[in-house]
């Protein structure tokens, strides 16, 4: 009997558990001490606490997770994204413990998850890579690369991702400091201080191909454009990319399949490319895991990528290529303040109502009353809209974002709405630097909002203290 432990929390754990229920597979959640009331526990059949020195460490505790699997009789582990998902030691440890790892094998993960070796494989396959792209152990060697390819350059962690250990460097003067800062971040985030230096392509689109690998062969499931990023973290993703022609799309998908097959890649992965302003494109890196933005592909191709991952890991065949239809856009709801440099925010979710609409999907990982803690990723949930064309997907997503009620923690909700309504988004003019160059200031609250707040703040002549809304903890209302 298959029983799957999900070594994760938040929206992705919830999302995986839902598919496991649909597949009739029993499931186990793990949690840190502080997460014992978190929503992902409700979605699983069982839950086990895993020790950790701080709350995030529980989800990084390989030994503790394997023990939890042993205790519950789990036969397989899904890592989700983040945490241990791209640590090659995890699939190895699972293998030694006779557990099925739902993801690439340790060897495949190392071959493509490591930026340096992935780039070497790409070059062997004749796939273009970003100029420069050398490992540098000092600011001096980085300078040598810069002299050859010209500024601006990117300095980034060889063993990392998610925007940490990454710096854009404009000139030689700022290189030493940027190099040192990126390396410090890489060492603290990934315990790996190896740095890569490459030419910074500008303006560029970030286009990635979803693949499912079966070892000898891989199948591509279209692209996702994820150019809209802040601090190198994606916020809005869509498929298809508004900047990709049919022939370009086919070449990228072909390159991704070829690369995955060359590395003997197994399970789900994403091959990332940069698309330059002149239509030139370059291999960037492989994310050897399920990605946050995978629902965009699911909406367009009618596949369940988690189900496909489970089937593949249990020895099933590669699914047949699917025909895409329409357009899908995802927005990430983050606990952050886009008006103050996307500062992560914490607080208690005082009110929550997700939107409902045809072809609108919500992947949420929070509930009313929950504390949003400072130790984890600020992602609270995702809203994904499908439409028969881009404009309809955009309108649905906007409608969903306007209907969303999420109070108690500051979020980027209004920022997402303004971005989806901006001229550059409507025109599909989205580049990796677009959000940086369009600074956003939160609009003033409308008259209606102020009146609503005022009537709640000072109700006319309260008769007793119980009439004061300030005492009405835990209840909220719509309008009046």
């Amino acid at each position: 009997m298959t029983k799957i432990l999900v070594a994760n929390r938040g929206e992705i754990a919830c999302r995986i558990f839902r598919t496991l229920r649909d597949m009739g597979i029993s499931s186990v959640a793990i949690h840190s001490e502080g997460d014992k009331d978190s929503p992902h526990l409700d979605e699983a059949d069982e839950a086990v606490e895993v020790e950790g020195n701080d709350p995030a460490k529980s989800y990084l505790n390989i030994q503790g997770i394997l023990e939890a699997a042993g205790k519950t009789g789990a036969t397989a582990i899904h890592p989700g994204y983040g945490f241990l998902s791209t640590n090659p030691k995890f699939p190895s440890a699972c293998e030694r413990a006779k557990l099925t790892f739902i993801g690439p094998t340790s060897a495949a993960m190392t071959a493509l998850g490591d930026k340096r070796s992935a780039r070497a494989t790409a070059e062997r396959c004749g796939i273009p890579v970003v100029p420069g792209a050398r490992e540098c152990d000092s600011p001096e060697s980085a300078q040598a690369v810069a002299d050859r390819v010209g500024y601006p350059i990117l300095v980034k962690a060889a063993g990392g991702g998610g925007g940490r250990g990454l710096r854009q460097v404009e000139d030689a003067a700022s290189l030493p400091e940027a190099f040192a800062a990126a390396r410090r971040e890489a060492e603290s985030s990934f315990r790996d201080g190896r740095m890569l230096v490459e030419k910074f392509i500008h303006p560029a689109r970030h286009v990635e191909i979803q693949i499912l690998g079966g070892g000898k062969r891989a199948v591509a499931f279209g692209e996702r454009e994820c150019s809209l990023q802040r601090r190198f973290q994606k916020v809005i993703e869509e498929s298809p990319s508004p900047g990709l022609s049919g022939s370009l799309r086919a070449s990228m998908a072909d390159a991704a399949e070829k690369l995955a097959a060359a590395a003997g890649y197994t399970n789900a992965g994403t091959v990332e490319f940069l698309l330059g302003p002149d239509g030139s494109w370059y291999f960037l890196e492989v994310n050897a895991r399920l990605q946050v933005e995978h629902p965009v592909t699911e909406a367009r191709f009618g596949v369940d990528l988690v189900a496909a991952q489970v089937d593949l890991a249990l020895g099933g065949p590669l699914p047949a290529p699917a025909e895409p239809r329409g357009h899908a856009i995802e927005a990430r709801i983050n606990a952050e303040d886009p008006g103050r440099d996307y500062l992560p925010m914490t607080g208690r979710v005082a009110a929550l109502r997700w939107p409902q609409r045809p072809d609108l999907r919500v992947d949420g990982g929070i509930r009313e009353g929950q504390e949003v803690l400072p130790w984890f990723d600020p992602l609270l949930g995702k809203i994904i809209a499908w439409g028969h064309d881009r404009e309809w997907a955009r309108r649905r997503l906007l409608g969903g974002l306007r209907d969303l009620v999420l109070a108690g923690v500051p979020t980027n909700q209004r920022f997402l709405i303004d971005t989806l309504e901006s001229e550059f988004f409507i025109q599909g003019e989205t580049f990796t630097t677009t959000l940086e160059s369009h600074s956003w200031t939160p609009p003033e609250p409308s008259k209606e909002m102020l009146v609503a707040a005022a009537t709640a703040a000072a109700p006319p002549a309260p008769k007793s203290k119980s009439a004061s809304p300030w005492r009405a903890r835990g209840s909220w209302r719509m309008g009046s």
């Binding site: 008006g339 009110a351 709405i417 609250p445 909002m449 009146v451």
Partner: protein, 134 residues
């Protein structure tokens, strides 16, 4: 009756005139929490903190001093030394700009001293009442 409610939002104070006849859209979510209110309307969600008001300061049981939340005149004193009060009980009523504000106990306790008298003018931050734990 026309009133002005002062609300702080993202560091800016807004003076909102209300007379009780205003209609708030039914789709607005109004979420009172300790210390203020969240309002979410059409995807715009903000936190509003009353600058002056009948609102008890955020619960700080350790702080034995209850201070004037605004500059004004004392119109009523509802407690005397030795009174046991519960959190939220009105201690003093202040008036300013023709509006009354009730200053409430931030936590349960016993009134130690009352530092003001009726009709006194007080500045914002003036200690009105001191309290000791229950």
């Amino acid at each position: 009756m026309k009133r002005v409610v002062r609300l702080k939002c993202r560091g800016r104070v807004h003076n909102v005139e209300v007379d009780g006849t205003e209609k708030v859209p039914r789709r607005a979510a109004i979420v009172p929490v300790p210390g203020g209110v969240w309002v979410s309307l059409d995807g715009h969600c903000e936190f509003f903190e009353p600058v002056l008001g009948s609102v008890p300061l955020p619960s700080r049981a350790a702080d034995p001093e209850v201070r004037a939340p605004m500059t004004g005149r004392i119109v009523a004193i509802r407690v005397k030394p030795g009174d046991a009060v519960r959190e939220g009980d009105v201690l003093v009523v202040l008036e300013a700009m023709k509006m009354e504000y009730r200053v409430a106990a931030p936590a349960a306790g016993t009134v130690a001293t009352v530092r003001v008298s009726e009709r006194d003018r007080v500045e914002i931050g003036t200690v009105l009442v001191t309290m000791s734990p229950p």
